[in-house]
């Protein structure tokens, strides 16, 4: 009957799950991918009946990389009764939100962010990635091994200091330990107004064997252009952070031969990953990058935690109890501080593709 006078539904309340990420602005490509990964994981879970018969509802918030916006988003999600929040996707925002998460004992599952100082504390911040330190060390090895460069210049994004500064320091220490040398480090602002040619010139002044860029994809592309314009053969390396699809679209020939550490094995033939890749393309029209994969993994971890949670148990304790989760490409093992141990893979850009080296 269409009158709908007594249309009260007997369906149980959905489980509310929050997402905070950088969905607008210069670096939004990573946040959007991470969001897409989370959306896909939630939709898939709901198709198989949700968690304990309750469907999942993903509440998405954009932090726009503004601390205040992020804080408000956090409070909004909390007032809607979310069981945990996925995100954020940048270190600067993580620094703002982690104290809030600890105060309210609300689990924060960082997606593409793992600054050192947050990953070594027993708090309510989890991360689906290993800490910056570990990636910095691996990048140092890749640079020494594959770029054949020992004397290096480094440019890093001043706006993401929480991540880029400590990364640069850890990286430099490892290079020095291995007998290399960091000649100069040049901070820059991620802005349209920045003169990237100036930055490039500063980097090349001490005549390095190679340049390392700790920047998001758009800035990496612009810097690569400026560097290669001045010195077409200079070897360049960039971090996992800069290695998104947008790097190739904006960088074109300037990023050819660039060493890019990747958190994702793009040519993986793991069936679980292939199925995910296909579902992702079907749903979003693109191939998933590392942020999408990590977003998906992080969401799966929360879903598994919710499924296994005992009554009265905090979700954080559930995740620590389970410890190891199936990831799309490799298992995610969380340490006692809630950091996953994940792998990274060195790639070279060849003919507009990331080609694995190992």
């Amino acid at each position: 009957m269409q009158l709908g006078l007594v249309a009260s539904c007997a369906q149980p309340e959905p489980v509310q799950l929050g997402f905070i990420g950088e969905l607008s602005g210069r670096g939004a490509d990573m946040g959007l991918e991470a969001r897409n990964g989370a959306v896909l994981a939630v939709e898939e879970q709901n198709q198989t009946g949700g968690v304990d018969g309750r469907s999942l509802n993903l509440l998405i918030e954009d932090d726009g990389r503004h601390p205040e916006t992020a804080r408000q988003a956090f409070n909004r999600l909390r007032s809607k009764g979310v069981v945990a929040i996925l995100g954020p996707t940048s270190s600067a925002i993580a620094r703002v939100l982690v104290p809030q998460a600890n105060e309210t004992a609300l689990l924060l599952m960082g997606i593409t962010v793992a600054p050192n100082e947050l990953t070594e504390a027993d708090d309510y911040f989890f991360s689906a990635l290993s800490s910056t330190k570990i990636y910095a060390r691996r990048n140092a090895q890749y640079v020494l091994q594959h770029l054949n460069a020992r004397r290096l210049s480094i440019a890093y994004d001043r706006g993401e200091q929480a991540f880029t500064r400590s990364w640069t320091e850890d990286f430099s220490r490892h290079i020095a330990d291995q007998g290399g040398e960091v000649l100069t480090t040049v901070p820059f602002d991620s802005s349209n107004a920045t003169g990237f040619s100036n930055v490039a010139r500063q980097l090349l002044t001490p005549r390095p064997d190679g340049v390392v860029l700790v920047a998001k994809s758009v800035d990496t592309a612009l810097l690569a252009k400026s560097l290669r314009t001045l010195n077409p053969d200079i070897p360049i390396s960039t971090t996992e952070w800069g290695g998104t699809e947008r790097l190739i679209k904006l960088g074109g020939r300037y990023v050819e031969g660039m060493l890019v550490a990747q958190l994702l094995q793009r040519d993986s033939s793991a069936p679980y990953f292939l199925a995910f890749q296909e579902a992702y393309r079907e749903r979003f029209g693109d191939l998933p990058g590392f942020a999408a994969t990590t977003g998906y993994n992080a969401t799966r971890v929360l879903i598994e935690g919710l499924k296994a949670r005992r009554s009265g148990e905090h979700l954080k304790d559930t995740l620590l109890r389970i410890g190891t989760f199936r990831g799309l490409q490799a298992p995610l093992a969380f340490d006692r501080f809630g950091n996953a141990t994940t792998k990274s893979y060195p790639t070279l850009v060849r003919q507009g593709r990331f080609v694995p080296l190992e």
């Binding site: 269409q2 006078l5 969905l23 607008s24 959007l32 349209n192 107004a193 612009l222 190739i248 074109g252």
Partner: protein, 1027 residues
């Protein structure tokens, strides 16, 4: 059957239905028709809006495309290569026409050759010029197909806004214009404010590119999975469908754009569309409520008036039935009610006339009944008299008038009351309306009267009893006569039935007419079974003809007969019976049948036969006896009554002469003195046992043993005499005597052989004991070695470390680089190392000394003074390494603190054996177990040592042989069977004590050693030494 309902409620219900049903039908139709129509209307409205917007968007984008194409034509017409004017031209386009955020000119390689930017963003130019955009698909496609191509949406690197770009291929260049599309979102936002419609634009990949909330557009949410978006993009036409967006059900319409590969989708919550429907539903509900209210007020009033009128007519009808003739009919204007009143009046008159006729008929009927002899009564359903005729005086002892109103059942004799009531209930239950019976009536003066009743029950249409009419006749005289007759017959029947002899009455055909209980008992046939059966049934087949003849003769005779016949009972067993029979003569002196009295004498006959058989058997026994036997009569056995075949065989065929019947004949006697002695004994004492005498047998003189008894047979004194030949017995005695004489010699020889075997066994045993000891020692050495490994290994490690540290110190000292902190560090390390060294060496030394003690003791059998408890602790310490690998524990409970003068070695060996015995036998295969060693001083000069385990214990069948040498339950699995034997030897022979297995109520086994504090002296004991 349905529950009857009052007219009022029935009328009320019907009126209510008439009001409600049309309303409900209208509601249903409305719900079915109005909903879809409404939805269609909304859909049409959406379509209009979407078409309008798509026109606007198309115009906007075509405008932008046209503008860029014009710029392209301009650039192509001049050769702008490296012309500063080119950049300015591009800048003008990016600034003046607010359509473009930026304009790029790409060279043949897809690299930015020039970039036009609004005034405010000129500083970005340096970053942009030289960028390689060839990796972007839309640029490549535009060049390859030489046509303008729109890109997917992206975040502009110049403005940070959501943008799309158009690539137009020129001769050597590609012109790219970046168009901000946030204005589109603003447009959609306005539309939502005005119409409530939510319209979104979705690009070819399904990403939202424009949304009433600008944020949502920037976030590139993907709606590609929504069905109308997919279908619209594929089919190129507008599609309407229900969708779920953010958990809301919405009605959506999607339509593709012409200028770009996008889809516009407008949607509205279903909730909003359904609102008018809900309003209609509320109106319907209100209608239903009102119609119910009308039914409750007006309907109820109408129904009540109608019901009142019907009740009035019903009251008059009741009056007519009650016989009232005067009626005041209510005045009514309704024709039907008037006719009803007239008809009821006519019915009343007719009823009155009928009543008069019935009363006359009843009177004449009553007179008839009063004249009848029999009692005539009528009772109501409760059993009370409503009419009684004059016969009540005779039968009830009351006047008819006195009976009225009394209960008919009160007159029934108390003995018949219950059965009569039951019979009545039964008849009525089965619907009988006519029945007869007899019972007793108790008159008021106490006399009992037998009455035969005939009853007629009257029922109404519903089969309920209205009244009953009964006619009763006094039959007391007949009943009493019958009772007397029955009594007599009963007595005669008892006489016949209880007779101890079978009594059978026959008819003229000799068929059974009567058959009493004795006959049943004898022949086994029941009375009912035999009545009418022929006499032949009882006759044995061989006598059947004979008995038939006898029966025929019996009928002709006047007196009776006595015959002994063989008969068959029911089981076919033959019986011997005596039959006393005679014909029955009736009052007319005619033979009407016959009677037989029968006695079963089968048993009597059988006893007689048994006696005869027993006699024959006895005679057979006598004759078959192997002992020569004879029976004689007379004071000196003058006449021989009988003798058996053994006697004849021994003393000759003419047995009569055997005992010498005459004085002068010797008979069998060789010496006459013997004969005299035998007769003397028999005649005076009546018995003779084993008298030996020489008798003359057929084989010659032989020595015989004579026995005799005086017996009485048939009043005569007789003697039973036996004579047994002793010759064979004498021969055997001689042979045994010879055997006894040679026995001693044979025993001596056997003993010698056994002694040799024993010596060999002792030797083997000693060897085995030795090897067992060695095996135990070997096990212990392995254990000790294992145990020593740890402390010595630790010591070794500490020593090596110390040596290394020292040499490093020396090096630094020699190089004069020794720092104070290094020295302090060394001293600390050296202390730690030496501590470890000392501790481990002490441990090793302890182990070695206790092992030495035990090993020496066990192999030397040295006698010395020692502390018992300390010794036991030592022994257990040496055993621990072996036991450590097992899950079992050894605990001690030592209470003596006593200095013993004994053999510590053997004691240790004994305890070691007992503990390892407990662990291999008592606890084997268990997950855990405790072996307990306790000591106690049981007497001033004795100690008691218990070794117990809580294992499976010793089976009862093994207890006896436990300490025997070579006794083992583990044969073939490493058990030599000497362990406990060694314990026994050591305890008893060396220490002078005892060992036993103690019975305890708890599970497990306990071996108890009782040892003197001072052991007995043995040869070769060395001087005792203090420990």
């Amino acid at each position: 059957m349905t529950q009857p309902r009052s007219l009022l409620s029935q009328l009320f219900f019907q009126i209510l239905m008439v009001g409600l049903i049309p309303l409900l039908l209208v509601s249903g139709v409305a719900a079915l028709l109005v909903g879809p129509a409404l939805k269609e209307m909304v859909s049409a409205q959406q379509h209009n809006v979407v078409t309008a917007i798509s026109g606007k968007v198309d115009a906007y984008l075509s405008d932008a495309a046209r503008d860029l194409e014009m710029l392209g034509t301009l650039i192509q017409s001049r050769d702008y290569k490296a012309d500063p004017l080119l950049t300015r031209t591009l800048d003008i386009h990016a600034t003046q026409r607010s359509l473009y955020e930026a304009v790029y000119l790409l060279d043949a390689n897809g690299m930015v050759a020039a970039a036009g930017l609004p005034q405010a963003r000129h500083e970005q130019r340096a970053n942009l010029v030289g960028m390689d955009l060839s990796a972007n698909n839309f640029v490549r496609v535009a060049r390859e197909y030489n046509r303008p191509v729109w890109s997917d949406t992206f975040l502009s690197i110049t403005s940070g806004q959501l943008s799309v770009a158009l690539a137009i291929p020129l001769k050597n260049y590609t012109l790219v214009g970046e168009v901000g599309i946030e204005t589109l979102s603003e447009l959609l936002s306005e539309i939502r404010r005005e119409s409530g419609l939510e319209v979104m634009a979705v690009d070819s990949k399904g990403h939202i590119v424009a949304h009433p909330d600008v944020d949502q557009a920037i976030q590139k949410l993907n709606l590609g999975h929504l069905e109308p978006v997919q279908t619209a993009a594929e089919e190129g036409s507008a599609v309407t469908a229900d969708i779920t967006l953010n958990g809301n059900e919405r009605l959506a319409i999607a339509t593709p754009l012409h200028s770009i590969n996008w889809v516009l989708m407008a949607s509205q919550p279903l909730e909003l569309i359904n609102q008018p429907l809900r309003l209609a539903a509320w109106i319907m509900l209100a209608g239903i409520g009102i119609s119910m209210l009308f039914a409750l007020t007006i309907g109820a009033q109408v129904a009540r008036r109608l019901a009142w009128r019907i009740r009035t007519y019903s009251q008059h009808a009741r009056d007519i039935a009650a016989g009232r003739r005067e009626h005041r009919w209510p005045v009514s204007k309704v024709t039907e009610f008037r006719e009803l009143a007239a008809n009821l009046q006519r019915m009343s008159d007719q009823l009155y006339r009928h009543e008069q006729q019935v009363q006359a008929s009843e009177r004449s009927y009553r007179e008839l009944i009063e004249d009848v002899e029999d009692l005539v009564v009528r009772v109501d359903p409760e059993g009370r008299f409503t009419f009684v005729n004059h016969a009540s005086r005779h039968i009830f002892g009351l006047e008819p008038g006195q009976c009225l109103g009394l209960s008919a059942f009160d007159f029934i004799h108390p003995g018949d009351r219950e059965s009569t009531e039951q019979a009545f209930n039964n008849w009525l239950h089965f619907g009988k309306t006519h029945f007869s019976f007899e019972n007793r009536i108790m008159r008021r003066d106490g006399e009992v009267c037998h009455v035969s009743w005939s009853i007629r029950v009257h029922q109404n249409g519903d089969e309920e009893v209205v009244d009953m009419v009964a006619i009763g006749r006094d039959i007391t005289h007949q009943v009493k006569a019958q009772e007397a007759l029955k009594e007599r017959e009963k007595r005669y029947r008892a006489l016949v039935q209880q007779s101890p002899l079978a009594i059978i009455e026959w008819n003229l055909d000799f068929e059974v007419a009567e058959w009493n209980r004795a006959a049943e008992r004898i022949f086994g046939y029941g009375r009912e079974e035999m009545l009418g059966q022929s006499a032949e049934v009882l006759a044995a087949p061989e006598q059947r003809t004979e008995q038939k003849t006898a029966w025929q003769q019996l009928l002709a005779s006047t007196g009776g007969t006595r015959q002994e016949w063989v008969n068959l009972n029911q089981d076919g067993v033959s019986l011997t019976c005596v039959w006393y029979s005679r014909p029955l003569i009736d009052e007319d002196l005619q033979v009407s049948g016959a009677i037989s009295l029968v006695e079963d004498i089968t048993e009597h006959k059988a006893v007689e036969q048994k006696l005869a058989a027993s006699e024959a058997q006895f005679s057979t026994l006598f004759h078959a006896s192997p002992v020569p036997m004879t029976v004689v009569r007379g004071a000196r056995g003058e006449s021989l009554l009988d003798c058996n075949s053994a006697w004849e065989k021994m003393f000759g065929a003419d047995a009569r002469l055997a005992l010498g019947p005459a004085e002068n004949t010797a008979g069998i006697w060789i010496g006459s003195a013997d004969r005299e002695a035998v007769w003397q004994a028999l005649t005076t004492q009546g018995t003779l046992e084993g008298f030996e005498a020489e008798l003359q047998s057929r084989r010659g003189a032989c020595r015989c043993e004579i026995s005799g008894r005086r017996i009485e047979m048939g009043g005569d004194v007789c003697y039973l005499i036996t004579a047994v030949d002793l010759s064979e017995q004498l021969r055997q005695k001689a042979q045994i005597k010879h055997l006894n004489a040679t026995l001693e010699e044979r025993v001596k020889k056997r003993t010698q052989e056994l002694e040799e075997t024993l010596a060999r066994l002792r030797h083997t045993q000693a060897e085995l004991i030795q090897s067992e000891k060695l095996a135990a020692l070997g096990g212990m050495v392995a254990g000790i070695a294992h145990e020593l490994n740890t402390p010595i290994g630790n010591g070794m490690m500490a020593a090596t470390t110390l040596a290394d540290e020292t040499s490093r110190l020396v090096e630094q000292f020699q190089a004069q680089q020794l720092k104070r902190s290094t020295l302090e560090h060394y001293v600390e390390d050296a202390q730690t190392s030496s501590d470890i060294l000392v501790r481990n060496l002490v441990k090793a030394s302890d182990l070695i000394s206790s092992f030495k003690q035990v090993a020496a003791d066990q192999t030397s059998q040295q006698r010395r003074h020692f502390n018992l408890d300390a010794l036991i602790e030592e022994i257990i310490t040496t055993l621990r390494p072996q036991l450590k690998r097992t899950p079992y524990k050894v605990v001690t409970d030592l209470h003596t603190d006593l200095i013993m003068d004994s053999y510590p070695g053997p004691l240790g060996q004994a305890l070691t054996n007992l503990i390892s015995n407990a662990h291999t036998h008592g606890l084997e295969g268990r997950d855990q177990g405790v072996i307990t060693v306790t000591t106690r001083q049981s007497a001033p000069d004795r100690v008691e040592i218990d070794v117990s385990d809580d294992g499976r214990g010793v089976p009862a069948e093994h207890r006896e042989r436990l300490f025997d040498p070579f006794f083992t339950t583990r044969m073939g699995r490493g058990g030599s069977g000497l362990g406990l034997h060694i314990v026994h030897n050591l305890v008893t022979q060396v220490m002078g004590g005892q060992v036993e297995l103690v019975n305890r109520p708890v599970p497990g086994a306990t071996f108890r050693l009782q040892i003197p504090v001072t052991a007995p002296q043995h040869p070769g004991d060395s001087d005792t030494t203090a420990p």
